[in-house]
């Protein structure tokens, strides 16, 4: 198997799995329990909380809430601010290219009467800072922009956005950092809120975090117990959270080496794929080394995906094959790509585990698939 779908999820590190199993067995106490066993769990959890914050240089200024995934963290952040600060204004801003967990949270708020601004992106798939600047108003209470796009890998200048947002003291800046954490070095200190998940950095599915300024308050999504200082009710997943700490530590420790390797592979893939007439590369020059997004102009992406899958290669496309209203990549559409390109994109996403040999095999299989399967316009 060649696994090139690491932006969807990564294989957990062995040591992460071992730690998770060990803690699940030996440290199963509820971190909210008052007895010594619960207190031990609680201590471990707090250590990991502090450690994750300090890895990102945020331990002085920010607090961390353990949640179940980045989708939950995004919802907590966006709805939490929107509800809590509704008295300051009901204007909120995001972009056209966010992950559905952000986009649909904004749409839900729009239905509740909030005024939502969806910022357009340029042809690189990035929001120009001046576009944000002209959209800001005094009654804007929230701006949520991703740090790296999940489809194209495009890197967003979040520090610049933060500077713009912070000219308005009543507005908060949230960053969905799911695709940048552990993939690219970034300064998050200016963000009011930050969310990401564990399973994209070698951790386990079912863990995510919301990081926010210590001084901030939000309305929690769940009604329940007082876990996580009332910000996220429900028993905390101690083994998963501690394992996430280890996954992040390991990933950040190896970030430079991982980046160098991925850069080389991506460069090779980009060059080889560019040689194919029908391939258009969508990922801009300033994108993370782990994601390469292309479009096929002659073939259906879903057919190529299936053919690759049958040969043991995992990549992702926007859609499964479907005749009932084929999905279109709203990210690529927003970048100004035409319909064919937007409907037929393929995302290749790498991790530290991938090798140049795999990339070479991928290219030869990919060429083979294109030459042995019929194109989109087969039925004339």
């Amino acid at each position: 198997m060649i696994y090139f779908d690491n932006a969807a999820t990564t294989k957990p590190y062995d040591e992460v799995l071992e730690l998770f199993a060990k803690l699940s067995k030996e440290q199963f106490g509820n971190s909210s329990s008052a007895h010594f066993y619960g207190r031990e769990s609680s201590k471990k959890l707090e250590e990991s909380r502090e450690h994750i914050l300090s890895l990102l240089g945020l331990n002085k200024t920010h607090k961390l809430v353990f949640e179940s995934c980045a989708s939950e963290a995004n919802n907590s952040a966006i709805k939490g601010v929107a509800y809590h600060y509704a008295n300051r204004g009901k204007r909120i801003i995001t972009t056209e290219v966010e992950h559905p967990s952000v986009l649909n949270a904004f749409r839900a708020l729009e239905n509740e009467g909030y005024q939502v601004v969806y910022l357009p992106v340029n042809s690189d798939g990035v929001v120009e800072p001046k576009v944000l600047e002209t959209s800001m108003t005094k009654d804007t209470i929230l701006v949520s922009i991703m740090s790296v796009n999940n489809e194209t890998g495009a890197i967003f200048p979040i520090s610049k956005y933060a500077d713009i947002v912070h000219k308005y003291p009543k507005c908060f800046f949230h960053v969905d950092a799911t695709q940048s954490i552990g993939k690219v070095k970034m300064d998050y200190t200016k963000c009011d809120m930050l969310s990401f998940s564990s399973h994209k950095i070698g951790g386990l599915k079912g863990n995510g975090v919301l990081i926010m300024k210590k001084t901030m308050e939000i309305t929690p999504l769940l009604d329940g117990g007082e876990q996580e200082t009332g910000l996220r009710a429900g028993t905390v997943d101690l083994p998963g959270s501690v394992a996430m700490d280890l996954a992040l530590t390991t990933t950040l420790k190896n970030l430079n080496a991982n980046q160098t390797k991925a850069k080389e592979i991506k460069q090779y893939l980009r060059e080889e794929l560019s040689k194919i007439d029908e391939v258009v590369v969508n990922s801009p020059a300033n994108s993370i080394p782990f994601i390469l997004n292309i479009s096929l102009l002659d073939h259906k992406a879903s057919v190529v995906l299936e053919a690759l899958s049958q040969k043991g290669i995992c990549v992702s496309s926007v859609s499964a094959c479907s005749s009932k209203g084929e999905p279109i990549s709203y990210v690529l559409s927003a970048m100004g790509k035409d319909e064919v390109a937007s409907r037929n994109s393929i995302r290749i996403s790498l991790s530290h585990e991938n090798t140049m040999e795999e990339a070479k095999e991928f290219i030869s299989t990919f060429n083979n698939v294109l030459s042995t399967t019929v194109g989109r316009e087969f039925v004339k």
Binding site: E306, A320, S322, V379
Partner: protein
């Protein structure tokens, strides 16, 4: 008082004359199979007119529900068996009716044993009188809330306050075996169910065109067949590797005729596989007029390539009725999963609704499809799915 037996009334068997015994034996075998998983201790016996299931320690309602899915059963009646003595019958009837909710009742009686001293009317009168004397209920002959039945058999009497509809049809297997073309959509599982209910065993045949169709379809079909296992405990799934022939059709045939020619090829392959697998008919989920290939004119062109009967159980069924059945047999949610049985690459824009056989033959003279059809037949992979489990996975099969 507990119902100790369940009396199974046969379906359309009364017309069967000398073959009746065969049908009853077949039905009993099917009932035993159906009960073997969840009710292994339930004993099944029968006489000329009914089959009896001993309830034992099982819940009588659970048994009824299971039996309702067995084809060839008209009605299912939980009964108390007693000796043919009017005193005993009166007392039992009274005891049974006391357990029922309702304010009005009616007694129905039947006398198979014509030697019994009272006739049906006499039994009704006596039992009703006994109930009226001892229990506060009114008689309502037109809309009773409780209907108590007394059935005088040769050796015993059966008394009951409940009867349930069975699924009708014939015992499965009595009407041979058909090769069902299963696409994975809403219709073909429903057609499969209707065939089974008619007593026709099915094997299923699917035409796969990877990579233009997703492998996920195979999982979908397997899940559908697991649902159909309730009605037929073992079903074979045969997969035809159709890609090459499919591509050749679209290469050689003009777009409006592609679907017709494709269906003709499918029928040729299905006929050969059916012969191979001892099936005596083909079946599809087609409904007249639903799509271009399902007009009567199209059916002439399609039927022309096979001398096997093509059964189309849904020929005149409306889509909404079909969906209702699909929901009832629990295949609907599986059928509407997003991936397609046939990729949009092979969806012609203007299919012919009135194809002519002559034109079909002309298109088919353009290339050597015979060898491709042969390859499809040879390449069939079979999987056997029994009681919800894959018994034999044909994907590991050696090429023959």
């Amino acid at each position: 008082m507990n119902y100790a037996y369940i009396m199974v009334h046969y379906g359309e068997l009364s017309t069967k004359g000398g073959n009746k015994k065969l049908f009853i034996n077949c039905l009993n075998r099917n009932i035993r199979h159906a009960l073997s998983v969840d009710f292994p201790e339930a004993k099944v016996t029968s006489d000329r007119d009914h089959t009896y299931v001993e309830v034992g320690d099982y819940d009588v309602n659970d048994l009824v529900v299971r039996l309702q899915d067995v084809s060839g059963i008209q009605r299912i009646t939980p009964v108390v068996k007693v000796e043919k003595d009017m005193k005993v019958i009166d007392e039992t009837a009274l005891e049974l009716i006391k357990e029922e909710d309702g304010t009005s009742f009616k007694v129905k009686a039947k006398r198979a044993d014509k030697q019994f001293p009272l006739d049906s009317f006499g039994i009704m009168r006596e039992v009703s009188a006994h109930i009226l004397r001892n229990h506060k209920l009114d008689v309502d002959l037109h809309n009773p809330e409780i209907t108590l039945t007394v059935d005088i058999r040769d050796t015993h009497a059966c008394i009951s306050c409940h009867t349930y509809k069975g699924c009708g049809g014939y015992p499965l297997g009595m009407n041979g075996k058909a090769m069902m073309l299963l696409s994975g959509g809403i219709d073909s599982p429903v057609a499969s169910y209707l065939l089974i209910r008619r007593g026709i065993k099915i094997e299923t045949l699917h035409f796969a065109a990877p990579p233009y169709t997703s492998d996920a379809v195979i999982d979908k079909l397997t899940d559908i067949i697991k649902k159909l296992n309730v009605y037929q405990e073992d079903i074979k799934l045969n997969i035809v590797p159709f890609t090459e022939l499919q591509l050749a059709i679209y290469e050689h045939v003009d777009e409006p005729y592609c679907i017709t020619i494709m269906r003709r090829m499918m029928m040729r392959i299905a006929t050969a596989v059916a012969k191979d697998h001892n099936c005596h008919g083909l079946a599809t989920g087609e409904s007249v007029g639903q799509v271009a290939s399902q007009t009567l004119e199209s059916m002439i062109a399609i039927n022309d390539v096979t001398n096997y009967p093509i059964i189309r159980p849904l020929a005149t069924v409306d889509k909404n009725d079909c969906i209702d059945i699909a929901k009832k047999i629990d295949t609907y949610e599986i059928s509407i999963r997003p991936y397609e049985d046939c990729c949009t690459i092979f969806t012609p824009k203007k299919p012919k609704t009135k194809p002519r056989i002559k034109d079909c033959e002309w298109y088919e003279s353009k290339w050597d499809w015979q060898s491709q059809v042969e390859a499809c037949i040879k390449g069939v992979k079979s999987t056997f799915i029994k009681n919800g489990e894959i018994i034999y996975d044909g994907t590991n099969q050696e090429e023959n």
